[in-house]
């Protein structure tokens, strides 16, 4: 193996992750992408979704990211997200409640393309992503 790549996940509240990873897989705007050490410099926006990485011990870690963007340098990946949570910190109950509320709002807003509907959609996405991550069994 060529070595590990430095991963940093930073939110306005705190620096969530700062450790070495074997591989990082992030939800890019145009689809999920994987990063190993030596990757070309690269900048992209992120979707709401799941960030996966293998820590230096080979354990798979999952992090929920709420949009933002990623800067990839050959030896370092920096994720700037408006908010992010590690899998174990996800509040499943809250996500479920949020999902229900957002779906109700979405139904109310109907198919009109207004701001409320867009926000409700984003809320639905967030809740689903959180639940998906929380529900995933940890591999290995």
């Amino acid at each position: 193996m060529a070595g590990n790549i430095m991963l940093e996940v930073v939110t306005p509240d705190k620096s969530l992750v700062s450790e070495e990873a074997q591989i990082v897989v992030a939800p890019g705007e145009y689809g999920e992408f994987g990063v190993l050490i030596g990757h070309t410099s690269f900048l992209t926006t992120l979707k709401i979704g799941m960030l996966r990485f293998k820590d230096s011990g080979g354990g798979e870690r999952l992090v929920f990211v709420n949009g933002g963007f990623a800067e990839v340098l050959p030896n370092k990946v920096t994720i700037l997200a408006e908010s992010a949570e590690r899998r174990k910190d996800i509040d499943v109950e809250r996500a479920k409640v949020a999902l229900k509320r957002a779906e109700e709002r979405l139904a109310e807003a109907g198919r009109k393309e207004n701001i409320d509907a867009r926000r409700a959609q984003a809320a639905v996405q967030r809740a689903i992503a959180r639940l998906k991550i929380a529900g995933t069994r940890r591999a290995a």
Partner: protein
């Protein structure tokens, strides 16, 4: 000469006040601590953000015609939005009045130029002040400054500002906040939020920090322009959040200093009053003695 009883009561009252101010001082100190930690935690995000945005702006620059709307200054400025950040609560010395004076002067300047101003008040003190003066307040956020708040507050406020700006309801947006310089110094500051001006500056700072002088030539996905469009509103949120953090920290620092002063003053007052109390007591004793001596003399006579 005040009577003994009066002075005694006064001493008790001042001592109670002193207890309160001391407690408030300690509460402010712990809140200040937390606010400073929050500022510290935000720094990596802000720095990285400025760095990335700066390098993007450099690459997108030169294309003046297609520059994003958030960057272009309006030829004619008719209305400005002013975001005023103050605390919700008082008892923090001249903290709020400094901010209000700064804001009022700014509004006056704009009014003299014939520019209409709309206020967005973050914090009760500013809102109350300008409501009494019948200013045009279009938004208010209470319970934010000095309390626990998240990034989403900045996003919500920022989104409204940006929408109003793009719709032409406001041609410029400024922010009045208190910059936290040190424990003893908090300076009221005005910063322009929209159109965004600080991109280049942020870039230079970021470059100076990185002594290698290496700017990554990123592959951008989607295009540079789309990335810029995504990031510019966030730049506004980041600035608002920074302003809120600085103002909160300043508030607690100002309150701490004010309460420290108050406690010292109480101490001084108690000392003076105790002196007066002892004097009055002594005077009473002397008067009693004179009476007794006088009475004894009379009996002898």
């Amino acid at each position: 000469m005040p009577t003994l009883k009066e002075v005694e009561l006064k001493i008790k009252a001042v001592k109670k006040t002193q207890k309160i101010t001391k407690a408030m001082n300690m509460v402010a100190a712990s809140k200040l601590n937390r606010a400073q930690e929050k500022m510290q935690a935000f720094r990596p995000y802000a720095n990285k953000f400025a760095e990335v945005l700066g390098s993007l702006a450099e690459r997108a620059g030169g294309d003046e015609e297609n520059a994003p709307a958030l960057l272009v200054p309006r030829a004619e400025v008719k209305t400005v939005d002013v975001v005023l950040m103050t605390s919700d609560r008082g008892l923090c010395g001249s903290f709020n009045s400094n901010l209000l004076v700064k804001c009022e002067r700014f509004l006056k300047e704009k009014a003299d130029e014939g520019i209409e101003a709309r206020l967005i008040c973050m914090g009760k003190k500013g809102r109350d002040y300008f409501r009494r003066r019948k200013a045009n307040i279009v938004g208010e956020y209470l319970g934010v400054v000095g309390a626990r708040f998240g990034f989403n507050v900045a996003i919500n406020a920022g989104r409204i500002l940006i929408d109003d700006f793009l719709e032409g309801q406001a041609d410029e947006v400024h922010m009045v906040f208190s910059e936290f310089i040190s424990m003893a110094r908090q300076a009221p500051t005005i910063q322009q939020l929209l159109p965004i001006t600080s991109v280049e500056k942020a870039d230079k700072e970021a470059l100076e920090k990185e002594d290698t002088g290496y700017i990554a030539e990123h592959i951008c996905e989607p295009s540079v322009e789309e990335l810029m469009a995504e990031m510019l509103p966030k730049q506004v949120y980041v600035q608002i959040y920074k302003g809120l953090l600085e103002t909160s920290t300043s508030e607690h620092a100002a309150r701490m200093a004010a309460m420290d002063n108050a406690t010292t003053n109480c101490k001084e007052m108690v000392e003076n009053l105790t002196l007066a109390y002892n004097k009055a007591r002594q005077a009473a004793i002397t008067a009693d003695l004179m009476d007794i001596v006088g009475g004894a003399e009379a009996l002898k006579g």
